[in-house]
Symmetry: C2
């Protein structure tokens, strides 16, 4: 279960009922239409399970994922969060970057006979992904024809789809109307995570429940938050997600892509608009970024995320160290309590300093909670995009760099 | 060797010779004084080597570091970067956060009989550090009196120093006038990295050479950059370090602390000032944050970092895949070339979009280069702090949260 509360510092008409209703209706309309497909994934991806359940997945002990951006960030986020609560979760190895040192190191971790290989790309022409895939083919002498250890996840009729059909390689499709950064609940995330041993059905269920609750009007805090962030976007143009759990670091990276690529845009009047996303981890970044939040420019809003119950009993031993007795007051408390008290204290200090904040509390680490967190952030992003009057779902700004690269490397 | 070039978008008098000279002189004065001690570390830390060289360090195969913020970030940065070029570098295990899942997982990695334990804290009263240290004492039944596998790194006469003296534990001191985030070239970084097998002498040498070159007036680009960033700090108030190498991720985290804690301050007129630091990794974040840089608000300056020669020959195989032939143009090129061409293309696209940028190129991964990078960023931070008229070296904003925590947990 997720609980939400907020302490926004500006008094603004962000709770205007009519405005909130309009926002909800406009999202409802988008959901009912055909242009933006991610809304339907929590329901439609359940069909994938019928395909997956008959598969013999026990022959694999490693799941290798070759993909970058939206084709890896969401999978990594879920893998990191659910690993501690998932018995016998398989090792997942991610190939993303064109960094030769990482590629070489990752290759050395693979046991070819126990690994399955996922090639994930909407178009199939992502240069990092195809280059790494070729490297794996060569290094492990992978047989392509009728391969049962290679899977493609791509758009129907894409370049990668043609490749898969040609070699009779099993293929899973991403709906055309689902963009990369909104695709984690499609085959992109569901299939590799299922094979790695995760309960993807519960992830989808958590997402579906939260989404239904939202569209039934029971999550108005989300509309208020979107509206507040929009109304303050000129002044508080940086949004920080401050997660009090190491295993949420990949989730914050997923959020940074979602937010950055979706909301950094030219609006309908060709103005440069956007909100800058930053991911932090508590309590570590209390010793790094917090000073800037408290005393730096008042240009940030902070979203704290914490986990009430880590299901880990580790306690600070009742030991008194000569010279350092002053920290004995925390003895016999659990680290679970310590990290949550640190979150609470930081939140209070942020609030007292006049910085806007809100908090999302997960009662525990669970599949349903992470499913709900994903759809929560996707809906929030769509809502802000709507009021900013931008196209939330494209990313025209990255094309120029690609063209220059292709030109510099001599491709026509 | 490092090379530098810049493409700042605003025409400003940031190259004014008199102004630059004033800045250099004011830093020279600070260096000659006693208040700010980090300037002297590249020279003074060499003395540590005389203490370290007679030690029998081969009895350790793991180096465990318990520390947070400035007591871990710099060590992690150097360890990540130099590992691939350091034969027989020992495993380093970092305990930072109060997250119970990470602590439990890290404990399971330790081989008590082959590990040495570093407790790193300027004051010795950092709550995460003392709590984790107690947990290790209990879990491994560590003997404290006359321990030869435990080392303390702390200020002279600190709480931790008292503890070490009491138990006759070997202690290394941080100069009083060196703040945590400027301490990586003191015992904080030098001692654990030496024991882990790194050539710390070369790191110090690289730092010393760059620093001397700067104070001899041969690195004016640094003065110009500081001045440019300051002069534009109202408009371009976010500075992004975009590193094209996975192993620089921890370096960017070190930079975020250095920049965030040093420059996010109340100035002499009690104005909230500061520049927000963001660390990115290329090419990965071309698929995440780049869209926001190109089409979002023009509130960022970007510093690219790349490595000319990764000393890794991995090539993209000359394989043509049916359907995906369009990326064949990169076949037979090295990944080393690909990632650098991606950096170059992104830089060009950023420049064409009117965003200020500069680039630092490392000719290779080397101890001297990382030493130079560290002092480069420390000097840059000091310079910007000077012109912003703030105290670069304190962090009063984090005290409130600590007080609230202590109060909430019932400590007087």
């Amino acid at each position: 279960m997720l609980t939400f509360s907020s302490h926004f510092s500006q008094k603004l008409p962000y709770q205007d009922k009519n405005l909130l209703n309009e926002m909800l209706e406009s999202l409802q309309k988008e959901m009912d239409g055909d242009e933006v497909g991610y809304y339907k994934l929590p329901q439609s991806s359940k069909k994938l399970l019928q395909e997956l359940k008959p598969m013999d997945i026990d022959r694999f002990s490693q799941v290798v994922v070759v993909g970058i951006g939206g084709s890896s960030l969401g999978i990594k986020a879920i893998n990191s969060i659910l690993k501690p609560i998932t018995k016998d979760a398989k090792e997942m190895i991610f190939f993303e970057n064109s960094d030769p040192l990482t590629i070489s190191e990752n290759i050395s971790k693979i046991d070819k006979d126990r690994a399955c290989f996922f090639i994930v790309s909407k178009s199939g022409s992502t240069i990092e992904t195809t280059s790494i895939f070729k490297t794996l083919i060569k290094h492990f002498s992978l047989e392509l024809d009728n391969a049962t250890n290679i899977f493609a996840i791509t758009d129907k009729d894409s370049y990668l789809s043609k490749f898969a059909t040609f070699h009779n390689i099993k293929e899973f499709n991403i709906p055309h109307n689902v963009g990369g950064r909104f695709s984690v609940l499609s085959a992109v995330g569901i299939v590799p995570l299922y094979i790695a041993g995760y309960d993807v059905e519960a992830i989808l269920e958590g997402a579906a429940e939260f989404e239904m609750s939202f569209f039934n009007g029971h999550e108005n805090h989300l509309l208020e938050k979107a509206n507040y962030i929009y109304a303050n976007s000129k002044k508080e143009n940086i949004n920080v997600v401050f997660s009090y759990a190491d295993r949420l670091e990949n989730f914050t990276k997923w959020y940074v892509q979602l937010w950055g690529e979706s909301l950094g845009k030219l609006d309908r009047d060709k103005n440069h608009v956007g909100l800058t996303p930053i991911g932090l981890i508590g309590a570590v970044d209390q010793h790094s970024f917090l000073q800037l939040i408290i005393e730096g420019p008042n240009d940030k809003s902070i979203t704290f995320i914490n986990i009430e119950d880590f299901k880990n009993p580790l306690e600070i031993p009742d030991i008194s160290l000569h010279g350092i007795e002053q920290t004995d007051f925390i003895n016999k408390q659990s680290f679970n309590k310590l990290i949550n008290e640190q979150c609470k204290a930081t939140m209070q200090s942020v609030r007292q300093s006049g910085v806007s904040s809100d908090i999302i509390t997960l009662d525990e680490i669970s599949e349903k909670n992470i499913g709900a967190m994903i759809i929560y952030y996707e809906l929030l992003t769509s809502l802000i995009g709507k009021v900013l009057h931008i196209n939330t779902y494209n990313q025209p700004g990255v094309e120029l760099g690609k063209q220059i690269l292709y030109k510099n490397l001599g491709n026509k």
